[in-house]
């Protein structure tokens, strides 16, 4: 099945879009543009805003790149987004996530999706010590 828009090939891209594509390929050290970016390029302001925003956010800072990718896996698994899960799992591994780390990450994701719903379902009252944190 196709995407809802035609992905933009490098050779058909405007200069503005090509500049983002070039940055993606050099930053990721790959020689092709993944579908997500070719699809977002159907609306160039979205491509630029999302890519440059993502590049800013994912740069190592107080948290390292591996931790950030694992957090992205947690968000994507909770939302059930297949492309996102595959992409971030792969990138987390590329940044050194071992299979043991991955197993623990998934166990944490599963557990707190469970407790989130138990706590909502029972309408647990917020403890006083949690009201001002």
């Amino acid at each position: 099945m196709s995407a809802t828009v035609t992905p933009v090939a490098y050779e058909d891209a405007s200069d503005e879009v090509r500049a983002v594509y070039d940055d993606i390929m050099s930053s990721r050290n790959i020689d092709f543009v993944p579908n997500v970016w070719r699809t977002l390029a159907s609306h160039p302001p979205t491509l630029a805003r999302v890519w440059y925003g993502l590049e800013e956010i994912m740069a190592p800072g107080a948290l390292d790149a591996r931790t950030k990718e694992m957090i992205a896996v947690a968000v994507s698994a909770t939302n059930g987004c297949e492309y996102c899960i595959r992409s971030h799992t792969r990138q987390a591994r590329g940044h050194g996530m071992t299979e043991e780390m991955y197993g623990e990450l998934m166990a944490v994701i599963g557990m707190f999706n469970q407790t989130n719903k138990l706590i909502e379902g029972y309408q647990v009252e917020v403890d006083d010590f949690l009201k001002e944190i």
Copy 2:
């Protein structure tokens, strides 16, 4: 507003429930039982299963406790569970999450909730390199 069940006070608890309460207080180094556990105690098998499962999962392993609590924040924010967000944010700080780490954590959570929905909305096709990871 009250929870949907009456939380179980320590003095009213069965021996089975008290054993869990004692383990919670000693493991967390607190002298009271937070509402979530007093509420789950309305169904003792759930209290025991969830607490002991959580204890197993949150023990430092390939991932440290701080990383695990930050992942719990990511799940809870994505699900919008107030009690859970407050509790895990507090615990992540207790395990050394600085405000700079927290700011980066939240930025990552926000960004990938955005891209998850863009990718779903556009029905981005899975790249070949993501099909077998």
Copy 3:
């Protein structure tokens, strides 16, 4: 905090809305109109469509009213809707849900929110025996 619209009081309601209000009160055997219906009455076609649809769906059929209300709790807890959780939990109890049933209901809700996210997160492949069911 108030709702986003002014709930419609019985005395201010049109004949069309009053007819629905009367049906709600007699069907539920109560002498007031709960906030949900007074709020939906801000758009009378929505009030009528939702109420009569709900009445059709919740009538005992192949499933009894208690089972239907417990399913409503499962949906509402998974969505984290406070009003809905409170309302359906109360109605399930009114239809004979015991505290033991409720404890089991919540345990099932918690467990499958966990496994749903593990299965998504790991991108478990659909078994052949599940492809044609």
Copy 4:
């Protein structure tokens, strides 16, 4: 992979179901019945309730059909429902949604999924001016 029920073919349908099918085909100006309706027909009261409810809601009123289909895209992308995304995107285009409108629609959907989760994650307090709206 098949649906969880056998879709009902026109020639196998009861008179009640055929009446809905005829209305769908004439209202949409198509000569076949899309899978969603053939699947809902496995429970005829659901088919009738959903189709006639949808027809009422989607009729042009204070909002035009294109705006309503774009709102349907926003809901479906947020929920990640593939069939729904494809169907409503196609219908919005049929009602004149241009590619520029679509790009802006998706940008808005992405942005507010981001801010929704930031606001939940930070537990932003409701401003006084938002308490009574």
Copy 5:
């Protein structure tokens, strides 16, 4: 497309994992291990914790197995998890869910996903009689 980990075949499994596999096959009366369990086996503590927890929860108690599987369908449909929907729908049928029951189950799931979002969207105020339930 493959899962994000290599499922563990029976012949490659550790004794610990095999013990769980044997329990799954005898408890379900099948002669193979479904993909979900072979995938979770990539992290043996998760396999054991989830399987034994699930076995405890799904044992007939105050609620029968069919009702529990229907609740699992409600959770899975609300979350949009394909594997989960297929698996629990099949199991509910195995426990005697008729097509009429299934039609009613789905109607209830659809209706309350609708009302949950209407109630959130309108920010319906919690009635006094729902504050203490």
Copy 6:
């Protein structure tokens, strides 16, 4: 209950943050800074990225400001984010959304949350005409 961080008051803000605050107040024509922005200011790069991104996205283009705010309501109601629902509902009204428009908007949101979950629950097969759109 407080937010998870201390909102940043104008008088305590850095020059960088004040520049964003000034832009917010002049762009919105208000003389105070709403809580969402004072909270995001706890991590200045997030404040700047989100505010300037939002300003770009919400500027009238192929879609007008009112339509964009209604789409924001659809996303926020589907996600159940109280602050977001209140804020965008108020802004949509400020851009001329009538109560009749609002009623129709909410009806559409409710309906498609229902059909999204029916379609997922039944695992409706994608029609051929929807595969390439």
